[in-house]
Amino acid sequence: MKQLFLERSNPRNQAFVLCLVSLILFVIDGKSTALKPVRQAAGSLVEPIIWLAVLPRRIAEQGLSFFELRDQQRLELFEQRRLSETLQARQLKFEALLSENNRLRALLGSSAKVSDLVLIAEVVGISPDPDQHYAMVDKGLNDGVFVGQAVIDATGLVGQVAESTTNLSKVLLVTDQSHAVPVLSVRTASQLIVEGTGNRNLLSMRHVSESLDLKVGDLLVTSGLGQRFPSGYPVAEVARYERAPGAAFAEVLAKPSSQLQTLNHVLLVFDSAEDLTPDVALETIGPADG
């Protein structure tokens, strides 16, 4: 019998097999880190596609800045200088306090707090999938970025590096559902864990016992436990504290300190400059002598 069909492949069979393969891959990649090296290597290959997507906007932004009035730029420059001088003055006192803190810690036999080294990076894109909260930044493996690295901005903790390819990194934000940060309440020094909710303005704390002293307005900073996040950076402010009578735990919601909606530049935190290439420009925050 003459062949009636164009080709012999059966799309239904192919689809069935590939659906199974997809499900298996999904479970593996979704629940474990087994495929992370593959993702990283392949991610470096598809980086150009991501650059292609963000390029028009960058060109437009730079083009627009070309048309800015000189007076406006002068005003901005003046403001920045003023702000910089104010911050430098504050920094003097801060350094003195930090040195005193270190001396006191030495008296108690504790190790000194080291200063953090930061690398500034620009946010080039955000997750197109609204259910995932991440930002793409323009520094990658070539700049010494590593997975798990803490990321902050001028107002607080932003998140951590989830994936990194040659020149781009994916920063998981604190508000993502899969993210959790160990924090310390500034007022009472009680330790908690703050998790993302999927809502860009809210973080939640689970299993807060009734006996824990926590009030609306309390500032929560990173505690440094778990060695993942450096300590002392603001994470969130308690926004709602509800305790239903008879409930085992209180329901606490917090508002993130960092302006996650309008991220422009972020700082990637390094422990030391040891394994970085010399041309990576790091800034120090903290006491100058370390």
Binding site: V21, L23, G125, D129
Partner: protein, 164 residues
């Protein structure tokens, strides 16, 4: 890849690349973030067009490979788009003869329905298998995608006639 393979298909690759870039383009910061849910699924639309137009060149395995690249670029776990694209490809491949005969607006409706089913599967995958909650707004995506189908169809048909 042998040269004739790429040579005969470069317009398909380019159109898919552009579709991926379109999917990734960030919205301006002033726009409400939820607008992202209304973004049409350009990659799916372009894939469906090519399977309907030249099924002998694009099939289910190609859709699977495309889904892996999409997962990398969009940031979802491998296999997430795999299920969606493979199902869409199988549907398109097994019905292209009839679908070609329909008016463009009728194709839009079919595509909307297919994408709805696929969105439902994606929702189940995220919630049941990964314990992540998902916004129901994502069901607007199939509708906006179907609304853009006529333009995708016309543009790609022009490209196919001229470059393929």
């Amino acid at each position: 890849m042998a040269d004739p393979f790429v040579k005969g298909r470069w317009i398909i690759f380019v159109s898919l690349l552009l579709a991926m870039a379109l999917v990734l383009v960030p919205l301006p910061a002033s726009a409400p973030f939820e607008l992202n849910y209304l973004r049409p699924d350009w990659i799916a639309l372009v894939l469906i067009y090519w399977i309907l137009a030249v099924p002998e060149k694009v099939g289910v395995p190609a859709a699977f490979l495309l889904s892996l690249i999409t997962d990398l670029v969009v940031g979802t776990p491998f296999g997430f788009h795999g299920l969606s694209f493979v199902i869409l490809a199988a549907l398109a491949k097994s019905s292209y003869q009839q679908v070609r005969m329909l008016e463009i607006w009728q194709q839009s409706i079919l595509i909307a329905m297919a994408l709805m089913i696929v969105s439902g599967i994606q929702l189940l995958m995220m919630t049941l298998m990964l314990d992540r909650s998902s916004n129901l707004l994502q069901f607007m995506k199939p509708i906006t995608s179907a609304l853009f189908w006529p333009w995708v169809f016309l543009v790609l048909r022009f490209c196919r006639r001229r470059y393929l």
